[in-house]
Subunit: 490 residues, 2 copies
């Protein structure tokens, strides 16, 4: 696999060949511009402020629609399933909420807790949409793009009022493209050092989205990007705790506040990204990595967004996929999981770096345990939020099977693949090779599966009939005449 | 000058000799622990939660008192003198403020804008206290310690009520020690890469202070430190803009929110500082630099706090000091600044890195222009907030003299020293060598000078009689039975 291509921008730019090369290679490598690019912030701001709804292709609109309703489903479901968003709302609502202009998704069963001011709504919805690790993934960067951007955007749209669906979707796409292009510019070095890339780029994406929604001009957008960029939230040490999702909520709030301040004349920098002591250099060792900015509007990152079939760290998905398939086969072959002697996994080394927790104690920790997820895939034949409760994590059968899981790290296994082998007490073996995990680019969720995922999460939170209306509402955002009216629709 | 001493902790620890060595060298070097220290967060949290008022020496209490009232003076003065805090309050107050429990310092001439909820108060006071670059400095790390910590602390103390002066001061000292020890652990690498160290360590200091005030136990304090540490706000690219002081406000708010969330059971990490993907590693290349934590409560960083005589970047202070002295001498010697042919400066190279703006356009930019500050020192014979207005920056006489300033960088000149030479048209020369700038450890502001600084700032903002009462109030915090009553006292 090609990991690195050096393009001597600006010498090759803007030749067609360069762009074709970039496009053809970009899923296999990352680009480095070795020339001077001292206009990254201007380039991004200018692209975003000039973007119009008519620029969005059918593919982009479809991807945006799925990204948005998947986000809403995760937020509504996540609010109820985990303590983090409720604690966050409880901590802030009484003490700190101004006018309750904006929806707290999932909390609006109870009118008293269903709304808050926009900064609390952005914060809590960000947390709720992320807390189950069930959201979406831009696989090239491991950014989960919708959460930060949509949480900020809906909160502001409701507070502002008179926002058409088309404008909302355009702003959402602008934000997602911004965060993914910025992410591509620093991935993987930035991630490898320990940053939680979803939130570190998320505040920039949220600022671009909210800035677009509020019609900032290019200069003020640059100022907003500077204020957003200087708030770098999220370290990987917090994975497995409530604070992982705090990152998303805080980044949503930070990006939104950046725009509101800039709109009121708060000054920052016009080169917040590319300056010597700006974002790209302070949080990454990559040199002048702004070549991706040339692809804005040409390669759409949102079209590469994928949706998680399982509510946990994405590097474990191939293993879960294999474990679920094997679970079904054991039934077919009259074998019981009780008789398993060992579970042998062969996976990419990244799996153990991110999800090597051998003995998780809570549901959130289990979302980062390859041992837990292999066990529950085999035992339950599924991996939904129900398999990541504290109870299931402590269930003795689960614990026993977890201990039988052995992991072999193998560089030759791609991150979306896995080998899962069951060895039974009687000597029999069952093996499954997953080439592309369910939910990957090559093996995406179908529309029906994505709807099923939404309905399961949302039904559990607010019941059948409201779930159906919520599905209609959130898949129909693009056609709304005023997104601020969303609270009355489901 | 010794820049680096490697101590093979834990082998030498806890020998008396090691500590003596550390103490004798610590102003000239920084310490690196090469052993394993996987308890930094616990060590810091445990020290803070166990700290009592009786542990504070007279020297610490004196330093805390000066730090607090200097902070209050800067906040009251800064609110009026610059647009940033007013924009920040205007952006947030109407839309986002809950119960107005806490003072907006400097805005309380107008009752309608004088109070907000604690998170807005922490935010705006943080900005106001910092915006004039007139605050305090821990010279070993260039951290300005009081702003983030005191802004969070006063806001929470007022919201909570029933906080004695002794408890308030103890919490303040805990926060300042925390941020400075964390800062020492990563300075200078962390600063050199472009982080604004005052705010990046500030959120941790604010969390420790607020956590101490709210009597967190050690484990919850660790959780709060984790949530604070993962919010890394502040890049140097924003220097010279409103966003520089935003860093301080946002860090105050972030540290405060970390405590409130942790107190409500929001989980994070017990090793947020020292873990592989925790703060010390993600934002610094220094290896296991936690030796300074062993000095908590033995070497008090607050005793090294200094107070700025001039409202601008501290590396320029020796030059200003020299320029003001020369301004007085030109009068004595019957020379006019009109007749200056050139102004020759010989300074440490750091001066040009941080303050090399040749042609500032705004007052905030001028705070980072060695050319401007040399010119106004010579022309006005003083450097107060009045010399950093947009008007003075554009004054033709100032602009003309600025252009005559030449800077020679010289490694052998310490950062608190400068050589300033005036060459006159008639061939005469006047030279001034400043060994230790006014406001440095060796040449600190006297008590009378510090009071004068407070009174000048505060009088301008809220008038004579209230300024006198404010001085009594903020120098008397330690003796108050309830700090929450502070709003009624001046």
């Amino acid at each position: 696999m090609v990991r690195l291509v050096v393009l001597r921008y600006p010498f090759l730019h803007p030749s067609i060949r360069y762009k074709k090369l970039a496009r053809s290679l970009q899923s296999k490598c990352y680009l480095i511009s070795t020339g001077k690019s001292n206009m990254a912030t201007l380039q991004l701001a200018s692209w975003a402020t000039n973007l119009t709804y008519t620029n969005l292709t059918t593919g982009v609109l479809t991807a945006a629609n799925k990204s948005l309703y998947n986000w809403a489903g995760c937020a509504i479901g996540g609010y109820g399933s985990q303590p983090a968003p409720k604690i966050a709302l409880g901590t802030t609502l009484t003490a700190f909420s101004g006018q309750p202009t904006s929806s707290i998704l999932g909390a609006n069963g109870s009118i008293s807790q269903g709304f808050a001011d926009a900064q609390i709504a952005a914060f809590v919805n960000g947390i709720a949409s992320y807390v189950d690790d069930y959201d979406d993934t831009h696989l090239q960067t491991i950014i989960h793009p919708a959460g930060v951007v949509a949480s900020a955007l809906l909160a502001v749209a409701e507070a502002e009022g008179s926002v058409t669906g088309n404008d909302f979707v355009t702003a959402f796409v602008a934000g997602v493209e911004a965060e993914c292009k910025v992410g591509l510019s620093v991935y993987p070095e930035h991630y490898d050092v320990g940053w939680h890339i979803t939130s570190t780029v998320g505040s920039i994406g949220a600022a671009v989205a909210v800035g677009k929604l509020l019609n900032l001009n290019t200069t003020v957008m640059q100022q907003a990007i500077g204020i957003a960029a200087t708030q770098v939230v999220g370290m990987q040490e917090l994975f497995g705790s409530d604070t992982k999702s705090f990152h998303v909520g805080r980044a949503a709030q930070g990006g939104m506040m950046a725009v509101l301040l800039a709109r009121h004349g708060y000054s920052s920098s016009l080169q917040g990204l590319e300056a010597k002591y700006g974002w790209l250099h302070v949080v990454s060792t990559r040199e002048n990595a702004t070549a991706y900015f040339d692809q804005l509007g040409e390669i759409w990152e949102i079209e590469k967004n994928t949706f998680k079939p399982f509510p946990c760290g994405i590097v474990m998905h191939p293993t879960i996929d294999g474990a679920i398939q094997l679970s079904n086969e054991t039934h077919d072959k009259d074998l019981s999981t009780d008789d398993i002697k060992s579970v042998e996994l062969r996976v990419n080394p990244e799996v153990m770096v991110l999800t090597g927790k051998t003995d998780p104690q809570t549901g959130l920790e289990a979302k980062f345990s390859i041992f837990h997820t292999a066990a529950i895939g085999l035992l339950y034949g599924e991996a939904t939020p129900s398999q990541f409760t504290n109870e299931v994590v402590k269930n003795q059968t689960v614990v026993d099977l977890r201990k039988k899981v052995n992991v072999t790290e193998d560089d030759s296994v791609p991150t979306d693949a896995a080998y899962v082998t069951l060895e039974f007490e009687d000597g029999r073996k069952l093996e499954k090779h997953v080439e592309h995990a369910k939910g990957s680019i090559e093996n995406p969720l179908t529309d029906a599966e994505l709807k099923k995922k939404f309905m399961e999460q949302v039904t559990l939170a607010i019941g059948d009939s409201r779930a159906e209306r919520a599905y209609e509402t959130f898949t129909g955002i693009n056609n709304m005449t005023d997104v601020a009216k969303i609270r009355g629709l489901y």
